[in-house]
């Protein structure tokens, strides 16, 4: 079971680069990269708020819960 961050999908649909998002949201590229690669252990409400604001989406669009199929 895992929570997936669909940041790359959201960026692709909005034709926005990670650099542009970083400038608009005010989060460093390295932190956004951690989030995009799914290496983050937690996400702050303020970060989620800023991302949803810039990407004009709901938290549910960014985060997705998937049941892990591997044993």
């Amino acid at each position: 079971m895992a929570v997936i961050v669909n940041l790359d999908v959201m960026l692709a649909t909005r034709k926005m680069s990670l650099t542009e998002l970083s400038e608009k949201v005010g989060i460093t590229m390295s932190n956004l990269s951690i989030l995009k690669k799914g290496k983050a252990k937690a996400i702050r409400f303020s970060t989620l708020n800023a991302l949803c604001n810039v990407l004009e989406c709901q938290p549910g669009d960014l985060l997705e819960f998937r049941i892990d199929e591997s044993p």
């Binding site: 932190n31 983050a40 252990k41 996400i43 702050r44 970060t47």
Partner: protein, 212 residues
């Protein structure tokens, strides 16, 4: 990893540790030269070589206590004390010189590890794998030096007391319990626990760093 400028206190501690380290290096160098000169027969004595032996002794001395018009005979009790040989024979000095050199080298190694630890803290890497392993190493070396000390004192006891005969002092036992020197073990235990606290600190730091 996020690095911060070290506070002034850490810089001062690092400076003091550095001073101690280089002083220890000079002392050990001097001690090594002294030991070599002693072993080659150039010098007759070795500086900084201990000749004390903690033993359980009975002083065969009685005294008199005057109280009013009465006299009381007093006997001195058995005690655990350090006996110090003022003019030890060469074979004893040879052995104690080597052990002292070993103790000084272990002390230098401990200072060197602690210096590395403070250097890491100074550079902002307080909770790191490196510091955890350094702390664990300090505790293991302390336990090791405790063993060395215990073995050395027991060896000295059997070696010296087997051949020594004193008029007023009777050596009863090695004063093993007195000389257990649990301070070293306590220090080792505290540092080992500290290392485990640092492991928790590292986990918390990693979690903080991976919270976006």
């Amino acid at each position: 990893m996020e690095t911060k400028k070290a506070p002034r206190s850490i810089n001062v501690i690092y400076w003091i540790i550095n001073l101690f380290f280089w002083l220890a290096v000079i002392i050990i160098f001097g001690l090594m030269v002294d030991t070599v000169l002693f072993y080659t027969g150039v010098s007759n004595d070795v500086g900084l070589s201990g000749r004390t032996l903690p033993v359980n002794i009975k002083i065969l001395e009685t005294g008199e206590l005057h109280h009013g018009d009465k006299n009381f005979t007093l006997k001195l009790k058995t005690t655990t004390e350090n006996i110090e040989v003022v003019n030890p024979p060469r074979f004893i000095t040879k052995k104690s010189a080597l052990v002292n050199l070993l103790i000084f080298i272990i002390s230098l190694y401990l200072i060197w590890i602690f210096r590395k630890f403070v250097k890491n803290v100074k550079s902002g890497e307080t909770f790191s794998i490196k510091n955890i392993s350094l702390l664990k190493r300090i505790s293991y070396v302390l336990v090791g030096s405790w063993f060395v000390k215990i073995i050395y004192v027991q060896y000295l006891y059997f070696y010296i007391t087997g051949h020594i005969k004193l008029d007023q002092v009777k050596i009863l036992s090695s004063g093993f319990l007195y000389n257990l020197n649990l301070d070293l073990l306590w220090q080792a235990l505290i540092i080992w626990v500290l290392a485990h606290i640092f492991i928790t600190g590292l986990k918390l730091q990693q979690e903080k760093e991976l919270t976006i």
